[in-house]
């Protein structure tokens, strides 16, 4: 994989692009080139300007200064249809598929006219072309399945297929792998390589180092709207990239932790819900971090939900502080000291229109009231304390959570959960889609909590995270527990072996 610099003409060139929103500069004269068949990773913390840069290339935003040149032509602000016709395609972080339509219909959405005049002909052609595409890319999906019946990861693959079928010359991907597990990432890698061989250029953002280094030919780092570096992959190291992203030396990405295992506080015996998972058994000690490894869709999330009272187990038992318990609702679990941070932050984590303050106190309002009347002074004190402790970047306790970045939203969720003083925390993908700095802070927080004797169940698809943060790792595959491994005695390969078993 050579890193092209001279000779070839770039597909896309950014010249001195600057953008400001209401006088706040977002991008400072960015120069960037993309060559045919190049896979270009754009990295940076949340708020560094990656999304704005992508939108500028796409043509949704026009730059205040400088120009974007695509195939030798200056790009103007365009409608989505024009953008598609120009040969640029974007895969958003939020999926843009229509759940009630089939895979084939989604892939050809908005381009039905290419499939012929008659509806039945269109349907047949869509099926045929999708089948061809699927077999071409070796993706095990059925073209007639409705999208609502697919997992998030499979939907993501459909999005990518759509971009491929549009025969785009340039594909922009905003965190394309954030919801993919190892297995799907392999499929993803295959797709990327296929595109590369066809000369398609790809610009993608990611927070995962293994992908940034695994896929890309070139890595560009953005920080606070400045392009810090743009180098061939071979010329950079992980350490260097992280350092460039955060702007300071990060000696240890994962905090050092002295494990002090206390007594057993949670025992799970033969836990099962038909169709989701079965025969799950483990002990959780005080101060221990137990990792749940496995592929996306293996049932890890459902096990977490069952312990946190979101799902009712059909068999087995949960023994909590030497008593068999069955939680009917999250409320029951919270009362018993179980905290839960969902993988689906938007849907289950917070109330978007509520302020930081109201979100943080939401699970513990009963301690901020008398006779049902709220003690708002106390509420504010609590919220301010969490903002300081968790380093939540905001305009104050009154800012609406929907206006915060992903990392800060996650910290608000942590604030809410910590405020109801749980003894066990179930963290489902706690660092998904958040920036490096916030990730580091969450790891530090986890280490501190375990030092205080709190137990943590960490469900994570990020192998380095799982390996470094957990004391023990329970591997789940297809709803069954396939291994219970000690951190010291295992390695990523072994975990993957059991995950695919």
């Amino acid at each position: 994989m050579e890193c092209r610099v001279e000779g070839e003409k770039p597909v896309l060139e950014l010249r001195q692009v600057s953008i400001a929103y209401s006088r706040t500069p977002i991008l400072h004269s960015i120069d960037l080139s993309l060559y045919p068949g190049e896979i270009h990773a754009l990295v940076g913390e949340n708020g560094a300007g990656k999304s704005t840069l992508m939108k500028t290339i796409l043509g949704i935003i026009s730059p205040d200064h400088g120009e974007v040149i695509f195939f030798g032509q200056k790009r103007q602000q365009q409608s989505l249809k024009q953008i598609m016709d120009a040969g640029i395609s974007m895969i958003h972080q939020e999926l843009m598929l229509i759940p009630e339509l089939s895979v084939a219909e989604n892939i050809f959405l908005g381009r039905e006219h290419e499939l012929g005049f008659w509806p039945w002909k269109r349907k047949k052609n869509a099926q045929l072309q999708t089948l061809e595409l699927l077999s071409d890319c070796e993706i095990p999906l059925d073209s007639s399945t409705l999208v609502k019946n697919l997992s998030i990861a499979e939907q993501q693959l459909v999005e990518i297929l759509r971009a491929i079928s549009q025969r785009a010359h340039l594909i922009l991907m905003d965190e394309p792998t954030s919801s993919l597990s190892e297995k799907e990432i392999t499929l993803f890698r295959r797709l990327i390589n296929k595109l590369k061989n066809e000369g398609v250029s790809i610009l993608f953002t990611s927070h995962k180092m293994e992908e940034i280094f695994g896929f890309s030919d070139r890595i560009s780092v953005l920080r606070d709207g400045y392009l810090i570096s743009s180098k061939c992959r071979e010329e950079c190291t992980e350490q260097e990239v992280v350092q460039q992203m955060v702007g300071r030396e990060m000696n240890q990405f994962f905090p050092h932790r002295e494990v002090q295992k206390g007594e057993i506080c949670l025992q799970v015996k033969g836990l099962g819900i038909p169709g989701l998972f079965q025969d799950i058994e483990f002990d959780l000690h005080q101060g221990e971090i137990l990792g749940f490894g496995g592929l996306v869709g293996a049932g890890r999330t459902d096990i977490g939900k069952a312990i946190a009272g979101l799902l009712s187990p059909q068999s087995g038992e949960i023994i909590w502080r030497n008593k068999s318990v069955s939680f009917k609702s999250p409320q029951d679990a919270i009362k018993q000291g179980i905290g839960y941070v969902s993988e689906d932050r938007k849907e289950m984590g917070f109330i978007p229109e509520f302020s930081i303050q109201h979100n943080i106190t939401l699970s513990s309002l009963l301690s901020c009231q008398r006779w049902g009347i709220l003690d708002k002074v106390k509420e504010k004190e609590i919220a301010s304390a969490h903002i300081a402790r968790l380093n939540i970047k905001s305009k104050g306790v009154g800012q609406q959570v929907m206006n915060l970045s992903g990392g800060n939203q996650q910290k608000v969720v942590f604030g809410r959960v910590l405020q109801h003083v749980p003894d066990v925390l179930i963290l489902d993908e706690p660092t998904r889609g958040i920036d490096v700095q916030a990730k580091f802070e969450i790891y530090t927080l986890m280490a501190e909590l375990s030092r205080q004797g709190k137990s943590i169940i960490l469900i994570s698809s990020d192998l380095p995270e799982l390996m470094h943060m957990s004391d023990r790792i329970l591997v789940i595959s297809k709803g069954k527990q396939t291994a219970n491994l000690n951190k010291e005695e295992t390695n990523p390969a072994e975990i993957m072996f059991y995950a695919m078993k």
């Binding site: 609702s329 999250p330 409320q331 109330i351 978007p352 229109e353 509520f354 939401l362 699970s363 009347i373």
Partner: protein
């Protein structure tokens, strides 16, 4: 200056401005508008709609809807009248029974919405018809008259010169505003409307809160029914036809989001007054009752459109 804060700082700024403009417009067209008597008439006229609207504001903020208000009002009004006959009736028993019946119907709405997971629009649409039928059955389809003096007083009497219905309007506003903004219950209702799943995961007893919201709506509808029966001194099984739409219109004009999660009692109060002022103005200007409806609908749409433009401008 406080006025600036009201206009720009709060959700209800747009509707407040619209109400003032409407008052200025009408009083420039007729001198009979801006008089003490007329203003009291307006407040008295809107009191029933206001009470329904306060109740349904909770429902709408929680992300639901209640279409059965008018019918529940009729049932409660008839029940109150039956227990408040001039021969041997008891006003206190009448109040208790009417409120109890309202609470019961609201509670049934709540149960059905929670247990069946059928959208509240459908559930309360059903209740609307059922309750209307119940009102006709209880009264055998005839108005219930010959009501006691003390019951009549509730609708037509006054205390230190202020009509009783207006006192109820003010009282319910104060209580509802306090409950919505200062209590755990109010916070829970808003949270559920904002993101029901997240509220549940955060440990809020969602089902219980929703049940209470519909029950409250029934109680407020019953209170409206009592006041209306008392005012016309008759329990009318056909009373309150379409009242739910006036109440919901007032809530929406007041800036409460139909998707839930956002809203205020002050907004609802202003919405109610806005509708009341327009009705009164059209009456004073001798506009025919048919045209009043057309004008009313147009103004409601205009108000909501202007408000959304105004909210965008503020950002």
């Amino acid at each position: 200056m406080n006025l600036k804060k009201i206009l720009i700082g709060s959700q209800s700024g747009g509707i407040f401005l619209a109400l003032i403009l409407m008052c200025v417009l009408i009083s420039s067209l007729t001198p009979r508008f801006l008089t003490d008597t007329n203003l009291l008439v307006i407040l008295n006229q809107v009191s029933v709609n206001a009470i329904l609207a306060f109740g349904v504001t909770f429902v709408i903020i929680s992300g639901g809807i209640d279409l059965s208000l008018g019918s529940m009002l009729a049932v409660a009004g008839v029940v109150a009248a039956l227990f408040a006959k001039s021969d041997g009736g008891n006003v206190y028993l009448a109040l208790l029974m009417a409120l109890g019946v309202g609470a019961l119907m609201g509670a049934m709405n709540g149960f059905t919405v929670i247990l069946s997971k059928v959208p509240p629009f459908i559930v309360t649409l059903g209740t609307m018809t059922i309750a209307r039928g119940a009102a006709l059955i209880i009264s055998s389809g005839r108005p219930v008259s010959d009501l006691s003096e003390s019951f009549n007083y509730l609708g037509n009497g006054d205390l230190v010169g202020i009509p009783i219905p207006i006192l109820f309007l003010v009282g319910t506003y104060v209580v509802c505003h306090f409950v919505l903004t200062q209590t755990v219950f109010g916070r829970y209702v808003t949270a559920i409307g904002g993101n029901e799943t997240a509220a549940w995961v955060a440990g809020i007893p969602v089902a219980k809160v929703k049940w209470w919201v519909y029950t409250l709506s029934g109680i407020f509808a019953a209170l409206g029914g009592i006041l209306l029966s008392a005012r016309i001194n008759t329990g009318q099984p056909n009373a309150g036809l379409g009242f739910e739409l006036d109440a919901i219109a007032a809530v929406i004009i007041g800036g409460t989001s139909t998707r839930g999660g956002k809203g205020s009692m002050t907004g609802t109060l202003l919405g109610v007054l806005f509708i009341g002022v327009i009705n009164n103005g059209l009456d004073l200007l001798n506009v025919s009752a048919y045209w009043q409806q057309v004008v009313m609908g147009g103004i409601i749409i205009l108000a909501v459109v202007l408000d959304s433009v105004y909210q965008k401008m503020k950002r």
